[in-house]
Symmetry: C2
Subunit: 442 residues, 2 copies
Amino acid sequence: MTEKFDHFEVSDVRFPTSRSLDGSDAMNPDPDYSAAYLALRTTTGETGYGFVFTIGRGNEVAVAAIRAVEHLVYGLDVDEVLSDMGGFWRLLTHDSQLRWLGPEKGVMHMGIGAVVNAAWDLYSKRQGRPLWKVLADLTPTEIVELIDFRYLTDVLPADEALDLLTRALPGKHEREQRLLGDGYPAYTTSAGWLGYSDDKVLALARAALADGFTHIKLKVGADIDDDVRRVRMVREAVGPDIKLSVDANQRWDVGDAIANVGRLSQFGLNWVEEPTSPDDILGHVAISRAVAPVRVATGEHVANRVMFKQLLASRAIDVCQIDACRVAGVNENLAILLLAAKFGVPVCPHAGGVGLCEIVQHFSMFDFVAVSGSTDGRWIEFVDHLHEHFVDPVRVVNARYLAPTKPGSGAELKPGSVKEFGFPDGPVWRNLSEFANESGRY
Amino acid sequence: MTEKFDHFEVSDVRFPTSRSLDGSDAMNPDPDYSAAYLALRTTTGETGYGFVFTIGRGNEVAVAAIRAVEHLVYGLDVDEVLSDMGGFWRLLTHDSQLRWLGPEKGVMHMGIGAVVNAAWDLYSKRQGRPLWKVLADLTPTEIVELIDFRYLTDVLPADEALDLLTRALPGKHEREQRLLGDGYPAYTTSAGWLGYSDDKVLALARAALADGFTHIKLKVGADIDDDVRRVRMVREAVGPDIKLSVDANQRWDVGDAIANVGRLSQFGLNWVEEPTSPDDILGHVAISRAVAPVRVATGEHVANRVMFKQLLASRAIDVCQIDACRVAGVNENLAILLLAAKFGVPVCPHAGGVGLCEIVQHFSMFDFVAVSGSTDGRWIEFVDHLHEHFVDPVRVVNARYLAPTKPGSGAELKPGSVKEFGFPDGPVWRNLSEFANESGRY
């Protein structure tokens, strides 16, 4: 009997991270890292996993968005879908009624991304290889077929993408061996959250250096005088040779960004991240020109490939920060990798959160093997947080991500974690709620 | 006792418009015009109404988005909220956890818009005046306080907005009288849906002329040869003096848009609407330069004020098409009106759908009285469709919107319509579902 896609099993999973201020920044003071988590079942019992990452409240809206896609997938032939993943992407993304809810942005687009990623997880598991390797083994023609070039052709037509991938073929096998041997560079944000005391920041920065990190990132954007003080403090602690980036989490208007980066640049910044609204392409152009040689980075909140196209083509950004769960999954991230490669802009993924490291590492590794061919000036973000909940957690050793070797995309949570942190009825949240009733805090 | 905001009553209301192909276009072949409809109740029984407009599937995601805002509003003092609507807007839009789901775009932003609009509906009813008049009676300072200038200050700082509004004060009373006497110009899209036969299009175009319309709009974007044929046919039927706009509903890439508008421009186009992705600011700049003097219009899918800022500042668009339910409600539309005024770009709202005409007319009327001071080159879109479901439907006479005189924003649906078209359990949908089981069509 033919294998079909069966039901969606969608779970609302939330980790009460706000209690420790892990992940706190100037825009997001009290995140509860959460996942609208999809188990995509087939009629023969195979399962692919994907999720939308959120920071707490509203995770149920992402759950609703994933469920809204179910009718498009239910009953499809699994072999047919997996042999035409480009067509599957278009089927979901171009459903006219769901498209109205974006178009191609926000919760609906993120929900579609979870479904696309779940199908890729299934595909990789079937192939018995990790996602990065599955992608790296595709031919240039097969990769181009995965990408929807709608709205991209003025900047990157399909034939140019094909050329770009074909030119990257030489050395592919050797790069894969290097990746398997040496891993991929990481930087860390673990030290830099805004809610932490100075002592904690300094201790964590020193710990990061001891762990081999040579690039760390600090959160800024609350108060510029305090930012100057903290960045100076950390620069003095880590010395001049460590790369130091700062992340303003969209707190500044264009004028503020230019002025504030001007003040911070004395401490030698590797990049300034999210200086203003991720929608403000022309604003980023202005900031980028004004603060050079400090490099401008953004991407974790950039809604789709059309926005990345403009940010890259206009030289608004010097660092392209893809996110595994913001755009519509693997296929759209492939388009963004190719756009970045065309303009020679290094891709340094956003990670942290919950499960973002696990998925996004595959994209950087694929990029190294099959697209850009380089790790120069490239790092995957690393935050040492919540990995224990994943079946195949990232392995970061001496500040390098080791290449995953197990089949899949990394998105699969341990079943026990899905139950324990289920919202609002999992044991963790029921206990918190009892505590709240006693203390009045929740 | 102090009046507080009480619960949200949210309804999923869908009209089965796809059966008649009303509203069909190249991107949206079979819309079921729908509303995620909010009744915002207070403890003393007052109610304000607002909604997210969608085209069918996924309306339940918009319902979830509205519900996600309830905890922010529940228990707030009504007098305090209504006396600081700028603060209320910021409270909803800057909730850090909900903001992650956009930021400021897509379903979550539209859900917040419904809540903001419902509060304005309540405010207008309390004041006993229609929304346009409530807004027009505010002082420039009061208007500026309603607007969040975050991310706008590089292009429109608050003091410049204040100047702009102050310069518009002379003649305000006289314009209000003219508005009350003459109404506001309308154009119609009723004739131009793609699903209609040639005969139906021609008959409806002639009917529009007989009703006094001097500006009509046709849908294009499916097949350019057929578009050329249809636009020629309509131009020949209506003669050279009628303004004819075309709407491609985002179907084209940048290169296609330039080539296709080039072919259509021989028929004398008033504007070309949504030539490509609403996110493609730089694409619109390229199109706009290439197709001049044909004017470029967009806005119904533009996510927020930051995108409008760039479209206007870069001269990417010549016509600014605000939408009542895409951005975060009244306050954000005020920001967009001011941005358009700064660049001298006429505002021609998107309407049609369900209830969009009813709300958006207030913004154009306010714009005429208190901002731009002009109706030259400005029309509100009109589609004669589903108005019968509203408590205070628009009145369009001789191709002009008569100024509403009843209190409120126009968003209130008849309670009977909310019940009858409730999805999936209202009588209309239950009957369709029985029909479906018999015919196998649904």
